[in-house]
């Protein structure tokens, strides 16, 4: 595993939070995924060894929790809330707008052709009073109607262009 020194430092620190090493499985998966982008077979084996577990103990956790992924995704991760309160005020339209803007399909297995985004339709993000809501990476965006979804898409595209 080729992890950043900062990640390794945080991994060693977080293990001390628990009297039982296995408890650090989720924190380690988060840290490795943030660093490497996804959880590879190598990462599963590495975490298992670090926590003195069998690889299956880690793999079964990876496959249970929706936030962990086995493959790379786009540079930005757009998560649109699908659940009732958001759907009642147009969540499906919001999701469709992101799909169209980036010419991609919803789902963790799709990356937009420009490599910029992965759009996911996720369950309740717990901000129902400001529906529809969207998480872009770790930042929550509220009341994202079609107009706002287009504006957010434009911003992502502008940031991508500025990087080139």
């Amino acid at each position: 595993m080729n992890l950043k020194p900062e990640t390794l430092k945080r991994i060693d620190e977080v293990i001390t939070h628990y009297p039982v090493k296995r408890s650090a499985t989720l924190p380690l998966l988060h840290l490795v995924q943030e660093d490497a982008g996804h959880i590879s077979d190598e990462a599963v084996a590495w975490i298992a060894q670090k926590l003195e577990l069998e690889p299956i103990n880690v793999l079964e956790v990876v496959t249970f929790y929706p936030m962990f992924r086995r493959k790379p995704i786009g540079r930005r991760h757009i998560k649109v809330c699908r659940t009732l309160s958001c759907a009642l005020v147009g969540g499906y339209k919001t999701c469709e707008t992101f799909e169209k803007e980036f010419d991609t399909h919803v789902g963790i297995n799709h990356i937009s052709p420009d490599g910029e985004v992965t759009v996911e339709f996720v369950e309740c993000l717990a901000s129902c009073g400001t529906a529809p809501v969207v998480l872009i990476d770790d930042t929550l965006h509220q009341k994202v109607d079609v107009t706002k979804a287009k504006a957010l898409s434009a911003q992502i595209k502008a940031e991508a262009a500025a990087r080139k």
């Binding site: 939070h17 009297p19 039982v20 296995r22 408890s23 650090a24 499985t25 989720l26 924190p27 998966l29 988060h30 926590l51 103990n57 079964e60 956790v61 249970f64 929790y65 929706p66 936030m67 962990f68 998560k79 699908r82 659940t83 009732l84 309160s85 759907a87 009642l88 005020v89 147009g90 499906y92 339209k93 996720v122 369950e123 309740c124 993000l125 717990a126 901000s127 129902c128 009073g129 400001t130 529906a131 998480l135 770790d138 930042t139 929550l140």
Partner: protein
Amino acid sequence: MSAPAQKRIIFQHIDEPGYTDDLACYLKHGGYEVMKRAFARPPQELIDEVKKSGLRGRGGAGFPCGVKWGLVDRKSGKPIYLIVNADESEPGTFKDRYIMYQDPHQLIEGTIISCFANNVKQAYIYIRGEMAEGAIILEKAIAEARAAHFVGPNILGSNYSCEIFVHRGAGAYICGEETGLIESLEGKRANPRIKPPYFPAVLGLYQCPTIVNNVETLCHVKYIVDVGGEAFTKIGTPNNTGTRIFCVSGHVQRPGYYEFPAGTITMGQLLYDVCGGPLPGRIFKAVIPGGSSAKVMRFGERYKGKRKVGADMVDYDWGVEDVPMDFDSLAMVGTMGGSGGVIVMDDTVNMVEALANINAFYSHESCGQCTPCREGSLWMKKISTRMVHGDARPGDAALLKSVADQIPGRTICAFGEACSWPTQSFYLKFKDEFDGYSDAKKTLPADRRVLV
């Protein structure tokens, strides 16, 4: 009758201009003073205050907090853990988010007071994975509190030590179920444990006695220790003490959070006076009063029976608008107050399509260990989605109901009930709409809002 005034206790500073999430701001507003006074009292006295207050858990079940604390095995010699359940995931609920993002020290103070009262040396805040920024805010707040000796070793020279760590979930709703949460905190799949024997109060985290309390509940504890259990019972109504935060979403003019003394406001006052009523030109059709698993209420239906008022039994005859928004009244009319998430639907909504949305949620979130729930939630989703996007058949409604009826009571945790109640109640209340859906579908506007 117009609505009573809001009483902001827990949400006193939420969205207040100039109020920030740092320690300096919290201290300026009297922060950690309640904790300092609590440390001068015997822990048992604090537990007694909470018992006296009648505080009921704000995570959804409404179980009395003092009773929960009373069940903790204190003779085992094992450490006692406290876990803050910050896995706010019940669709329609969004109150804990505001506390953690805007007033994290209120939660930390409530947590340390609760830990001191219960002789807990180690607490974990289990925050849902999607709230990554919230986790950072909490970690920063805990670090500030640690530097000021409000958290960590030898708190304020009292010889009492308590550590708090933040633990992030990873997108699984079932982690809100307390034994599933414990499994998850142990680094495993969040499969809930069977009770008995695994009552957290006896065999919880690492098989040690464990208290799991909701974020808002712990903030109430801080307030109770401040004003006293007796004074707390003066807010709200008997058996429904303190304030309740309602999270209103869906088809109202002013969705959002509102805090009222428990039991003092009716559904009608909340939706019309406080939230501004339906959207222009619309009428209310249905409301789910306590998170998406709570049974739906249909506008126009009546609830009749006898209820206790003081020492007397009196008749009641309520419409949806008349029902007081407390745990007991909502239970009396066949639904629940749950987590306070009120989801409103107007006459643009087709109930089959709304149910299909809910069923997709529960199917996605079933942990999968009990067959009736894993298979039942999947089939309810498949049938209701097919009704909407494929071929709706005349027997579908009865089929849905028969699947739903075979789940509750046959599963390890309450998810079995949670996933079947929507189907059961939607079918019961809107039977006409389900039975007639195959025909109605032909005339529904093609450009209607997509719900599934």
